[in-house]
Every structure is written in structure tokens, then in C-alpha cells.
Amino acid sequence: MKKILSLSVLAIAFILLTSCSDDENPQSGSIEIEFDNVVGEDDLTLNTTDEVYTNAAGETFKVTMLKYYISNIILTREDGTTYQDEVTADGSKGYYLVDEANTASQLITLNNVPAGSYTSMTFTIGVDANRVTEGAQTGALDVANDMFWSWNSGYIFLKFEGISAASTEENKAVMYHVGGYKTIDTNPSSANNVKTKTVTFTAAKVASDKTPEVHMIVDVLKIFASPNQISFAAVPVQMSPKENIPVVENYLNTFIADHVHN
């Protein structure tokens, strides 16, 4: 509690010291963040007839599902001041499920963002532990969204499913369900895969009459390529938080801010 209090004091001091311009100029606007899922040079298309994509291990595949959570978004202005997207305890605000099968979900709009010139964004890929320990959630975190493990409670942060001739599974299935929010000191098998990522971009200028768009590119190939090359023949299905650490290391490199439309 002391820590929270002192953090609060710091935060208040920070606001007092740095945000005077906002108080004098209460203008605000919106910003859009588009998540554009691609496969190398190509736009991602779900459920292609053939296995039109080839991973770094040289295995052909097609994609049937790609979904992931983006949350706790913080935007940073040129002068270092920040705007934090509101996160509510019931999950109704601040959590976004980007689903390749749902075009609307790929565009996150933040409203009431203070006017200014923003040059970087920090966000969590996944869902923090509180959302599990606080009980049933709503909105993007509604368990009906099928991004939740019921037998071992916890959110799935990223769900990739596809089909690959290289897979040894029934129907040549490939499934990577990545999650894991627990850190247990006494358990070396526990994995906390709640990771934040910061991307930088040329100034996105928010004003009451201007809604810039940050265009994010998420390359599916990179999820299985670098720094850890992953073979669908070797591991067609992986759901263990610990065993998926290489995938997490990869997908942290996958989220890139490509350009900004002002």
C-alpha cells in the first residue's frame, strides 16, 4: 500500500510538473491504432484453399485463426509526457481483442486523448494477472470470446491456428495458444508471459479536429522465425506457458509501427 501511495504522490507531482499545458489547453481528440496482420510481403488471408504461406523452417501452412489481446496502452508525447488508456477492474475498458476474422476489431480507437504530438506507444500483449484474480470479466475479456483456459484458469494472450502438411497432428492441425500470467518463485515451470512492447513512430498529431492513425504491422512469419526458429513438424501444437516462451520472445519482435497517417 505504501508503494501505491508513494507512486500516487509521484504521479500527482508528475502531473503537476508536466501537464500544465493540458490544464490550460483542455483540447482532446481521438487516435486510431490499426493492427494489420501480414505474412511476409502479403496481407494475411484466413482459410485459403491451399497452404500458400511458408515459414522460416520451409514448411507450407495456411492460417485459420489469429487472435491476440492488446491492453494497457500508454501513449507518449514528444516531450515525454504520457497518456494512459483507462483500464477498468471488470475488463470493460482498456482491453482489446484483435481478431483477424473481425475487421472492426483490428482498429482500436482511443477517445478523449489530450491534444498533442505522440511519438511512441507502450502496450501489453496479453492480459495481466489481476483480470483472473478479480473474477469474471466483461467486454473483450468475456470468456465467451474463447480466449480463456477453463481447466487451468487464465487468458490466452495469442491464439494462432492453422493447417500445415508438416504437422503430425490429426487433420494436419497447427495450434499455438500462448498464455501464462503466474510467477511462482518456488516453481521453475511457471512462466509469466505478460510482456509489454514499446514502438516508436513519426509524430501522430492528436487534435480536436484531427484523428491520426498509427498503422501497426504484425507479421505472422516472424512469430515463428526470430530469434527462435520454430518448426511445425517438430511442434505442431503448443499450449504450455513455459514451452511457449520462445514464441513470446518472437512475437515481441513482431509488433512494429510501420507508419502514421495524420
Binding site: A89, D90, G91, V132, T133, E134, G135, A136, Q137, T138, D142, V143, A144, N145, D146, F148, S150, W151, N152, S153, I184, N187, P188, S189, S190, S240, K242
Partner: protein
């Protein structure tokens, strides 16, 4: 419910409490008791550890509780609309299932684990035999979606509820949200289940000094229980909530237990220590329901504990395994365990089938 020094745990604003208290008067309910209605307040028994449920996020209300009850008993929640939560969690059996060794679901599918009793769930911090869930709200998701249990999807359950006018009305009254979602469904089920407080067994009345006394045999059994059983079946919940390998098997190929969750070899064959409250009502016993009687259970601890690397240290003394229990001691311990049966709980009309 006559629990002295009960601490109310509701998180309901005072104004709402007054409103709830007045509700019978306002709605002309036949309830003759004009004093504050505590039927929908989870009361903390004086001899229990503190409740763990997050009441601040989901305070119990009459509307939410009654909605939860209806959902709990509604077969439409299962894929083929044949079974409900109450099919396997039977009130008269402390919400366990004495008729089946392991969980059984739609189309007579069988699972691998014995149905646990749902008593005193507001005081538990982990759920399932392997502790896979750490919040009560998420427990029903497993039952609803398991292929061998209710075999539905959360999306489909919510879709069905949205189509039923009775539920549209009840969800609106309970949560006042635009549209039914799984959060409201899970909150309603939790509001019903957290009220399953079983704390009025003979044991409780003895311990709280409410006019009951142990017989000589029960008292002897109590002393033996404290000496031989209470290191695991601890506190007045009669479990310490830990995971232990109690020496049932020589290998764990059928069910790795806690290790399935932690992925730790050290947790192979470990299962959650179950509460012994109402245990006379909840056979069969063990995670796979292999024993039908308490005599068999105690005989296991006395002479059948199997040696594996993860067997619990409490069951090992030098080269010998198990807990020394004579036939006479077994009789006395069982006499004591019978005092943990709460005969009021199974008859509590609040928890009965509303259909």
C-alpha cells in the same frame, strides 16, 4: 441460520441494504419476518477462516442469488439441454454426487474425477482436484465447456439465455446491463454458490458452545483426529487447501494431478486435500471415487499407502508408510467425522430446485 457474531460480507451500499431489508414489505412478500432479511447475505461463521471470495466485485443480492439458482438448476445450459449443474451437484448430498464414481455428462460420457462437494466455496482459494482454477467465478466455465460434462460453449450458453424472456427479465433485474454476457452469468452462479455455507453440524454447535456435547466416542474420535488427521484436514474448513500425494497409486499415468497444472515432477500424483465437512453425504471418496466407505478410506491410510517419490512426508515415518490406526481407533474417528454432517444445509429451501 443463527450464527452469532456473524460478520456481514456484502459490499452492498447501505442504502441498498435498507432497500433489500424493506423489500418484503414493499413487494408484499409473504415472509412473516419483518426484521432485516439476511437470507441473501453471506455470513461469516465465527469459527471459519476469512472468506476469500471477491464480494467487492460481485455483492450478493436477492435477484442475483435467485437468478444463479435458476441457472444452476437449468438443463438448457448444457449442449443438448439434458443436464444442469445440479445433475452432479445435488443439494441433499452437500452438492456432491453420491451416485457416480467420476464426473458424468451429456450422452453418458464419463470423466476421470469425482464430483467435489460445493460447500463453503466462498472460503476456498483454489478449485478442482488439481487446483486449476483460483477463482470461483471461473469454475463453472470448465463444467459448461467440458466435453465430458455439459459440452457447450460459453458463446452458445449466452446466446440461448439472451433468447429466453424469463432470463432477459431476471438478468436485467439483477445486473441492470444492456445485454446478458458471461460475466453476469458467472457472477449470478457465484452469488448462488457463495451462499452454500455449511457451518451448523453438531461439531460446530459443540465448538461454538451452542448447547451440544460430543459423546464419549465422538470425543475420543476428535482427539484421535487431531493427532492423526488434522495436519492436512486443518482448520474448521477441515482442509489446509494444499496438494498432497496420499499414496493411492504406484504410478500416475491415469492422472498426474497437480502436476498437470504446475508442470512440476514434484507435484505428480498430488491432489487437493478435500474438506471433510458433510463427508458422510459425499461418497465415493478420493479424486477418482475409488472408495465407497469411510472405513475403506481409513484402512487405506492405515495399511495401503504406496511408496512413490512424491508420497506425502506426513504419511512416511522412517521406513514405515501410512498412519497407524487400530480398528478401534477407526470406529472412533468415524464417529467424530459423522459430527461434521450439517443436516440443516441439505434441507435449506433457499438452495432448492426452483423449477
Amino acid at each position: 441460520m443463527c450464527i452469532t457474531n456473524a460478520a456481514k460480507i456484502t459490499g452492498i451500499p447501505a442504502g441498498l441494504l435498507i432497500f433489500i431489508a424493506l423489500a418484503p414489505v414493499l413487494w408484499g412478500c409473504s415472509d412473516a419476518d419483518a426484521t432485516a432479511d439476511t437470507s441473501y447475505t453471506m455470513e461469516q461463521p465465527a469459527n471459519f477462516p476469512k472468506a476469500t471470495y471477491t464480494f467487492e466485485n460481485n455483492p450478493v443480492t436477492k435477484e442475483g442469488f435467485e437468478l444463479g439458482r435458476m441457472l444452476f438448476y437449468d438443463t438448457r445450459l448444457s449442449g443438448d439441454s439434458t443436464i444442469s449443474c445440479s445433475t452432479c451437484h445435488i443439494q441433499q448430498a452437500a452438492f456432491a454426487d453420491p451416485a457416480h464414481r467420476v464426473n458424468h455428462g451429456v450422452a453418458n460420457r464419463l470423466g476421470t474425477r469425482n464430483t467435489p462437494a460445493l460447500t463453503n466455496v466462498a472460503f476456498q482459494s483454489s478449485f478442482f482436484w488439481d487446483g486449476g482454477s483460483n477463482h470461483l467465478d471461473f469454475v463453472p466455465v470448465n463444467a459448461l465447456t467440458s466435453h465430458v460434462e455439459m459440452d457447450n460453449t460459453m458463446e452458445e450458453v449466452v446466446r440461448r439465455l439472451r433468447d429466453i424472456p424469463e432470463y432477459q427479465k431476471r438478468f436485467k433485474n439483477a445486473f441492470n446491463k444492456e445485454e446478458i454476457d458471461s460475466q453476469q452469468l458467472l457472477h449470478a452462479l457465484s452469488q448462488f454458490m457463495v451462499m452454500f455455507v455449511s457451518a451448523n453440524a453438531k461439531y460446530d454447535k459443540v465448538i461454538r458452545g451452542e448447547g451440544e456435547q460430543f459423546s464419549a466416542e465422538e470425543l475420543a474420535g476428535y482427539d484421535l483426529f487431531i493427532a492423526k488427521c488434522s495436519s492436512c484436514h486443518a482448520t474448521d474448513l477441515f482442509t489446509d487447501g494444499s496438494y498432497r500425494n496420499n499414496g493411492l497409486d504406484t504410478d500416475f499415468k491415469k492422472d498426474s494431478g497437480r502436476s498437470r497444472i504446475t508442470e512440476l515432477p514434484d507435484d505428480l500424483g498430488k491432489f487437493k486435500v478435500p474438506s471433510l465437512r458433510n463427508v458422510t453425504l459425499t461418497p465415493p471418496y478420493m479424486h477418482d471415487g475409488r472408495f465407497q466407505t469411510l472405513e475403506q478410506v481409513l484402512s487405506h491410510y492405515a495399511s495401503q499407502v504406496k511408496n512413490t517419490p512424491t508420497v506425502d512426508p506426513a504419511l512416511r515415518s522412517g521406513d514405515s508408510l501410512g498412519i497407524p490406526i487400530t480398528d478401534d481407533e477407526r470406529v472412533k474417528i468415524i464417529a467424530f467425522i459423522k459430527t461434521l454432517t450439517d443436516h440443516e444445509f441439505g434441507k435449506d429451501k433457499r438452495f432448492a430446485d426452483p423449477f
